[in-house]
C-alpha cells in the first residue's frame, strides 16, 4: 500500500486516496473531430516508467492533485496541486 504525499495533509496511506487517472489531459469539446475526442476520452500513455497522474485525497482534504510516479517501482517522485 502506497504512502502518498498529499500537498495539503502530508504523507498518508493510499486507502485515503482515489486514483484519478492520467494527468494533463486537455478537455477540448469544440473543433475536435471524433478521433481527437476519442483520444481524449480513452487513449492513455500508460507508460512503463514515469507517469504523470492525478489523485484525490478523498478521505482527507478532498483535493485533486498531480504527482509523478514510476510505474515500475511504484515510487512517487513529486506532487503538485492539480488546480
Amino acid at each position: 500500500m502506497l504512502l502518498i504525499p498529499c500537498p495539503h495533509c502530508g504523507p498518508r496511506a493510499e486507502i485515503e486516496f482515489r486514483h484519478a487517472g492520467e494527468a494533463h489531459l486537455v478537455r477540448r469539446t469544440e473543433g475536435v473531430d471524433d478521433a481527437e475526442w476519442g483520444g481524449y476520452l480513452y487513449a492513455r500513455a500508460n507508460p512503463r516508467g514515469l507517469h504523470a497522474e492525478r489523485w484525490r485525497h478523498i478521505h482527507g482534504c478532498g483535493r485533486f492533485f498531480n504527482l509523478m510516479r514510476d510505474t515500475v517501482t511504484d515510487k512517487v517522485m513529486d506532487t503538485g496541486d492539480a488546480s
Binding site: H8, C9, R63
Partner: protein, 166 residues
C-alpha cells in the same frame, strides 16, 4: 450522556450536539471572512482553533468546519456557508489507550498527532473527522454510520495490544 465504553485506560462517550457549519472560501479571503464571522480561521493546514466559544477546523485549503458557531453574518467575500449540525455524530475518546483503540482502524500515526490538530481520515471503512484535544480525541462521522463506528470501537477495545513497557 452514557459512556459507550468505559474500561481501564479507555473512555468513549457521545459529545453533545453542537452547531456545525462548513465554510468554503478562497484562502486569501479567510482572514476577512473569519473576522466577519467572529471566528479565527487557522491558516496552517489541519489546525483547529482552540479556546472557548466557536472554533474552526482547517480541513482543506479552502475549507473550514465551524464548531459551535451560531447565528447570522453578512459576509462580503465570495464563500459557501452550509449548516451541517444534523449531519454528524461526535464521540470523545480519552484515556491512555485512546491511541491504541483508534489505531485498530486509523492508518494515521496518532502518537505523533499534535494537540490542536484536526483532519479527515478513516476508521476502518468509514471516513471520520478526527481532532486531538488536550484531554481526548474528538471523532466526528456521518450519523448513518453510527452502528458501524460504535461496533468497531467496542470490538477493537476488547482486543487491544498490550501497552509497551514503561
Amino acid at each position: 450522556m452514557a459512556d459507550l465504553l468505559d474500561q481501564p485506560g479507555i473512555r468513549v462517550r457521545r459529545a453533545p450536539l453542537e452547531p456545525l457549519h462548513v465554510l468554503h472560501c478562497d484562502p486569501d479571503d479567510a482572514e476577512a471572512l473569519g473576522a466577519e464571522l467572529g471566528v479565527t480561521l487557522p491558516t496552517a493546514p489541519l489546525r483547529a482553533g482552540d479556546g472557548a466559544g466557536p472554533r474552526a477546523l482547517h480541513l482543506a485549503p479552502d475549507e473550514w468546519l465551524l464548531v459551535g458557531w451560531r447565528g447570522e453574518a453578512a459576509l462580503t467575500r465570495p464563500h459557501a456557508l452550509v449548516e451541517v449540525s444534523s449531519r454528524s455524530l461526535t464521540l470523545e475518546i480519552e484515556g491512555e489507550h485512546a491511541v491504541a483503540l483508534l489505531s485498530a482502524g486509523c492508518p494515521l500515526d496518532l502518537e505523533l498527532m499534535p494537540v490542536g490538530a484536526a483532519t479527515r481520515t478513516l476508521l476502518g471503512a468509514v471516513q471520520v473527522t478526527l481532532e486531538r484535544q488536550r484531554h481526548c480525541f474528538r471523532m466526528q462521522y456521518w450519523r448513518s454510520f453510527d452502528s458501524y463506528v460504535t461496533g468497531f470501537l467496542q470490538a477493537a477495545a476488547s482486543d487491544l495490544p498490550a501497552p509497551v513497557a514503561s
